[in-house]
Symmetry: D3
Subunit: 247 residues, 6 copies
Amino acid sequence: MRILLINPNLTAAVTESCAAAARAAASQDTEIVPVTGDFGAQIINSRAENAIAAHMVLTLAAQHAASVDAVLLAVSYDTGLYPARELVDIPVVGMTEAALITALMVGARCGLVVFGTPGLYREHVAALGLQDRLAGIRVIQASPATVYSDPDAVHAAVLAAAAHLVDHDDADVVVLCGAAMAGMAAFLQPRATVPLLDGISCAVPLCEMLVRLKLPPATQGSFARAGGRVSRGLDPALAALLAKPAG
Amino acid sequence: MRILLINPNLTAAVTESCAAAARAAASQDTEIVPVTGDFGAQIINSRAENAIAAHMVLTLAAQHAASVDAVLLAVSYDTGLYPARELVDIPVVGMTEAALITALMVGARCGLVVFGTPGLYREHVAALGLQDRLAGIRVIQASPATVYSDPDAVHAAVLAAAAHLVDHDDADVVVLCGAAMAGMAAFLQPRATVPLLDGISCAVPLCEMLVRLKLPPATQGSFARAGGRVSRGLDPALAALLAKPAG
Amino acid sequence: MRILLINPNLTAAVTESCAAAARAAASQDTEIVPVTGDFGAQIINSRAENAIAAHMVLTLAAQHAASVDAVLLAVSYDTGLYPARELVDIPVVGMTEAALITALMVGARCGLVVFGTPGLYREHVAALGLQDRLAGIRVIQASPATVYSDPDAVHAAVLAAAAHLVDHDDADVVVLCGAAMAGMAAFLQPRATVPLLDGISCAVPLCEMLVRLKLPPATQGSFARAGGRVSRGLDPALAALLAKPAG
Amino acid sequence: MRILLINPNLTAAVTESCAAAARAAASQDTEIVPVTGDFGAQIINSRAENAIAAHMVLTLAAQHAASVDAVLLAVSYDTGLYPARELVDIPVVGMTEAALITALMVGARCGLVVFGTPGLYREHVAALGLQDRLAGIRVIQASPATVYSDPDAVHAAVLAAAAHLVDHDDADVVVLCGAAMAGMAAFLQPRATVPLLDGISCAVPLCEMLVRLKLPPATQGSFARAGGRVSRGLDPALAALLAKPAG
Amino acid sequence: MRILLINPNLTAAVTESCAAAARAAASQDTEIVPVTGDFGAQIINSRAENAIAAHMVLTLAAQHAASVDAVLLAVSYDTGLYPARELVDIPVVGMTEAALITALMVGARCGLVVFGTPGLYREHVAALGLQDRLAGIRVIQASPATVYSDPDAVHAAVLAAAAHLVDHDDADVVVLCGAAMAGMAAFLQPRATVPLLDGISCAVPLCEMLVRLKLPPATQGSFARAGGRVSRGLDPALAALLAKPAG
Amino acid sequence: MRILLINPNLTAAVTESCAAAARAAASQDTEIVPVTGDFGAQIINSRAENAIAAHMVLTLAAQHAASVDAVLLAVSYDTGLYPARELVDIPVVGMTEAALITALMVGARCGLVVFGTPGLYREHVAALGLQDRLAGIRVIQASPATVYSDPDAVHAAVLAAAAHLVDHDDADVVVLCGAAMAGMAAFLQPRATVPLLDGISCAVPLCEMLVRLKLPPATQGSFARAGGRVSRGLDPALAALLAKPAG
């Protein structure tokens, strides 16, 4: 099985780090196929940059969908999640969605630890209809870059945020959000009092599961591809996919 | 005052029809500056096409924001609304948002009459946090093109849908959604039992109002521009706007 | 265009201060027609006083509706908003409703700064179905009178409350509620990091907009006047309006 | 124990019919003290008339509170419920509130059968925060007067409405709303498949229960009387109650 | 009238203390019939223990229902509330449900003071659909046993918690949850600024009220007993009740 | 890996049919260990029977947890889900929960097709906090036994129900609920226009995924086992598990 790992940010090193985490989480016969964005903001941290990145995600999905079995969005805002799911005929899973969904099976209330932009996470959780299960969101006051330059400080801040979510917001499980935190959950788990989740580790087995279910694409409903769509100025693969007949 | 009217669909004729409706609704000293998309789907009617169009909206907003006072999104899904609002330092109003907001001041419950894609409207109303005021959504089983080829049939269908929303869903006011229905609300009003609204007519005076309020852009909160952002592969105007320092 | 500005409180000086703010926000050809209550509590600050004031609002609206084009409720609880909207055939806008609605077009989450009675505001926001957009409510621990006796202290308290709403509750925009704060938003704006709104400045252009839309009164739905209603003991204008045939 | 039964409508015969139902539901040592409105609409069936009636309710409550132990609002919209509760130092229960609360202890989902004005009921249920338990509202297409002129037809319509709420909306219990239906629930119960409730029968024992609990009035929170309030033009008893010192 | 008071915990002394509180709240002609669990956890304080106790509640209800007029669940989680209500043909009221319902008639927002396990209370309030009226939950950091060993400390902690709910969460009324707090509300009331409620005192008159209403069991809807059910390994009384024909 | 498949109903044949479906969905190295209830109702179809079955689930989980890696609840109401998750230190997944969670990754809105008892499903979906994603519930008017006696009629009814959910309730994906429908989703998929899911097929890979994640049990929060609990009259394995020290 081949899983396309899309990072619509522009830094291949981050993609690689996510791909490494994905490989660690994958079954033996699963191949991770990482791709990195080539237009848009270097790093997404605003709604505008996120909107541009959704176009990037669709472009990459269209370019590679035919040769893979599922798509994993390795971007903490699950950029372009529903549009991509609608566009391609294979499963699409977002890393934060995956962690939130896993959290549903682990505790009653889930807390999020994030770098910056709590609003984007709050809106995403609400769009997913999962706000009733959200205990709270805590922001780490550090740039993602600090993860590499001063990991101990970041680890301490993440653990403090997780503890706050447990102590004050009654979280039963905590998601560490963001590509920069890939792998950190397992590393910090021994120092936490509740399960810690990260998106990549959850998303890979969920992709595998969906592939195993062999669900056909919908031919009716809001995710059925209309097909035969006329477009202009798009990447040829994306234009071709929109133009492909429905059904 | 100059209002940029953005239609991210690719048909200039539709833009012109919206611009005409906007001019009819505008104050004497307001100039409508219409622009049309040049990449993406010819007509948006899916989540994927809508996501691509958000990039188009941001590009057009960035290209023209410096020479106008406000932005009106002449696209019934209010494509790219929050991203555009975050990106530029002037007011941005979506046509459907405008009608929904106006409806808040007219009745307690608002019904929507739409061409196709009820799911996208439902998700947009929910994202706006206005679902408590939504009486229901009725879909017209006709292509937007029929508006021009068989207007009487479309008018009858729209009135029947509006009547159903009033009779069965307790709507106090009805919004006719979609650029194809621009101007239709006023035309059909004499045959309806509740106020009918269309987005363009509502959005123009709301743009004018926001310009008059002279609110400064936020320098904090989720709509404050981060500034100094690095990007690649974008329209130069969009890249320049992202790169512009904050504050 | 003539806008009736109703203050159901009994202090004409407050009415005048609201009228001055309204005139500052009005278009050149808009006349503000202020009226003050003559029964009820001197100042409304409880549910019981608010209920009595709703009767006052309806009485004043009935007395003056025939000679004006719209009604602006210059009372921070939007006292009698829906009843008045149902009673008269012209637009009715509440000052706090107006600010909340404007806030929808400015940010994702809106904070309120109020003098006392947070419960009444919370219930009003919920009744308007806008609680999903509410970031929080902060109470200024000062009587409205202090606005005149120690304005600097009040200004500092208002700014601190606004900052708290931004820093802790993720507000993108803040409404300063209450007639006593009329005009204060613009004055304090340079010292705030997010847009500040006040109700009167928002309500005037919204009234103007609704008048321009020329929407007919509903003849069906929950805002259609029943007409031909028998009453006793009411102000003659109010009784006459209730008795007027429907349609 | 004496329970003040307030009917803010102006027809003493309706008050008497409610009082008779209340006496049938009362304990042996409970006296029902019925009072009827003397200003406002003859019969409330709009938001405006309801707002005026709230003033009537407060006036009657103020006039009689000192000589009774509790107040029962014998008006199906529970007109002035929270304001009256705040105003007087004794328990206040609304007839529809009482039936809804009783329904909470009888089934999971509650249906309402109403004469006209479903919107007012919907808004009241929402204001009470009980919408999650609401199965639906069915409107009887008959004037309340028909209850007396053609009772069989009304009974058949009420039973059909109740059956529809059970069959289609999964109601476990049904409330018959409105003073005109006082006593009808017990009469029709043998022909229904779920418990039928009417407001008066539920409100009387709830008033008795609250009196037995001897709860003191709040001196803090949103129901604490401010006290020492200045007013003008009000019924002397109402003015005196507002002027009474807090605590 | 006889009210079965079920304590599914295993300590008869706690049952007796609840029965004493119930007798103090009962009408003269009401007899309280207390029963105590004989399997399960000594004291319920987790979801698993609560689930086991629901079986205990049903067993006790089945054993005694034929000889009583109503059932009062004297367990702060209202263990087995809906299942018991469905099983027996007489009214069933939970102690916490009763206090929450009473609170609806006393204030707009209700706070809870609890020993431990806030999650179970939160989930119960949500399952009852009453979360819109919930101001907050404050946990007393003491074991229920401390109520007897150091009552002054517990009283101080309870009052502090109640004050916090009023001051910070805008509670208008506070429920003291848990069998260990039976009787404490009345004792502490003079030192509180809002009404304090305890479940037993509220549940007894509500049971009495429901008995007086003489509502028949539903023969349709989700609370209608299916009847004729085959089972194995259950207490004979419980098996017999499940086997009893419907209707 | 060994997955304990618990059917708290009393018919081993149903357990076997679920186990067969589970084996079909399992990875090669996963062993399914089926167990059947030995007390309670023969078949659960009411809240009371479901409550008793929760005790059965906990008993079976306690008896077998030490020798398996995860627990799958093969009962369509996910009976005892949270209690079991709290009790044992290994993952617990409910079959309907699993299908609902999978549906989150497949479409925006999910419909349920059920045999009888829509109320129990509605309450379960709400308790899971997933009601925002629920398109609707359709009841098949047939006993589960008909699945075996007249499969064609049941298949037609299920497809009609699914089509209704898509056509009228905007479902993007449909879950076939109930052990009797195990395996039916795949069989009917070719005749449906949207993906069909069944609980067992979804639950098995989700169990496998959670086992692979190796999350530790919480030592804090609402799912942390208290430990050291005293009980009486329980199955020895259950008593021992409650008595086991925390941590």
